[in-house]
């Protein structure tokens, strides 16, 4: 099993979610996050006081998939979350050693 974490733009969330569901993802978790990469921060002004806000708001989406589905899910995110501008975000993939459904106690792939 793999965990796919994608940091994406807020306004792409609906599109990515729909595409992932169609591609066979059974569930996902979404978190509001702030951070920066190459896009860097933005300038803000409050009564003349100027601040550079380094951390920009993004959405982090987590999906756990079987090894065989990984490529399809990653491709789907790449296709839908991309605008071509700096700030589209990143995808991180890691190995998941176990997963258990709390209600039934089922484990591993049948539980995702």
């Amino acid at each position: 099993m793999k965990k796919i974490e994608a940091i994406i733009r807020h306004f792409k969330l609906e599109e990515v979610k729909d595409a992932l569901t169609q591609a066979g993802a059974h569930g996902m978790t979404v978190t509001e996050v702030r951070g920066f990469g190459r896009q860097k921060g933005q300038k803000e002004q409050y009564r003349g006081a100027e601040y550079v806000v380094d951390f920009l708001p993004k959405v982090k989406l987590e999906v756990i998939v079987s090894d065989s589905d990984k490529a399809k899910i990653v491709d789907t995110i790449l296709m839908t979350a991309r605008t071509g501008q700096i700030g589209d975000g990143k995808i991180f993939i890691s190995h998941v050693s176990e997963s258990i459904r709390i209600r039934t106690g089922e484990s591993d792939e049948s539980s995702i």
Binding site: E44, Q45, Y46, R47, G48, A49, Y51, V52, V53
Partner: protein, 455 residues
Amino acid sequence: MLARMRYWGLATTAMLLCCSSSVFAEETAAPAAAPAFDTGNIAWMLTSSALVLMMTAPGLALFYGGLVRKKNILSVFMQCLFLMGLMSVIWAVYGYSLSFGGESPYIGNFDHVLMKGVLPSEPGVWPAQGTTGIPKALFMAFQGMFFIITPALICGAFAERMKFSTMCVFMILWGTFVYCPIAHWVWADFGWLCEWNTAAPYRAIDFAGGTVVHITSGVSALVCCLIMGKRLGFGQEPMPPHNLTYTAVGAAMLWMGWFGFNGGSAVGSNALAVSGMVSTHFAAAAGLITWAGLEWIQRGKASVLGACSGAVAGLVLITPGSGTVTAMWAMVLAVIGTCVCYWACTTLKSKMKYDDSLDAFGVHGVGGITGALLTGVFATEMVTNPGRKLGGIDGNWAQLVPQAVSVAAAIGIAVVGTTVILKILDATMGLRVTQDDEVQGLDVTQHGEEGYIFY
């Protein structure tokens, strides 16, 4: 306050009494009747009192609360809420008496301590407030709301760093030694700056509190942030407002509450109250677009905080003149004054490098001073004073003298009073929280609570 209405009211009443007594003198020796109350006046003053209370919380609490960092939101709310309790009790015990009692031009006395002469001394007989047609108790309650919001305004200057215990003591002393005297000078019938006191050396026009409320609080705010010093990390780390949505909601509530603040200062439901409300509204509107417009031109964007600040600046500016300045001139006054406040909050503050956290001085101090002076220019007989030349546009430029004297008096008592009180408290209780507490935030360290807990 009470201003012209009472002044002319007294004159007309006196004239009527003279006529009637000469005609009917033989017929009746009228018994001392219970005062006749005017239901319309009472209704408006009850409403106004509630509106002014709403200005402190939730109005000012939200306005200021949104501007601090989120670790200090509750501390700001608590300062406003606690003052609603603390200042009200002091007002009941001696504050009102010290402000409005007696016949001295300089300070009240203890005639009304514990609401003596304010509440009924015989069953069901409510003492009247002069010729206004409202009970004294209502006048006292309305004035009490000003005694709450004035110190609450100062909180903007020392937000995010003052010890709560010290703040409580500071406000008690400040209310006693700064607010009560100046309220007496300007608004008590015998005060030396009182507009309708014909014996006063300087009859300054301050209808609803430009000097009493805004100059005293704004200037004291400046003294506070100079004596207490900057917030930790000021200038090095960003301290942007944590929730401007609150600030916008608070500003809108202040605007609405101000109709009671200025409209209620007529102490009646009459043309003067109409002027108070109408001039106030249009001044706020003009202030809003001025500030936002200046930002738009200078920085390319009209900001929400700019719009809120402009509206509040307009409200502050028209406060002393809302009973004597017509709505059209009120807009002119607000445009000029808002430019001055804008300059104070942006250029002056950054040049002088003081940390007035929420611009209590820039808006209330500078706006109060500018508004009081401009009232001397734009006050006119047209509102409710036919035949009495008031300000510069009436040809009476000499009115600028009492206006300037009242400004100087307000600045003087605020600077001296606040400095002495803070120095004493600094030596005894300490003014600021510890550095660790300041970093952690006042919500947790002063009150043991958090503003935002999500489960």
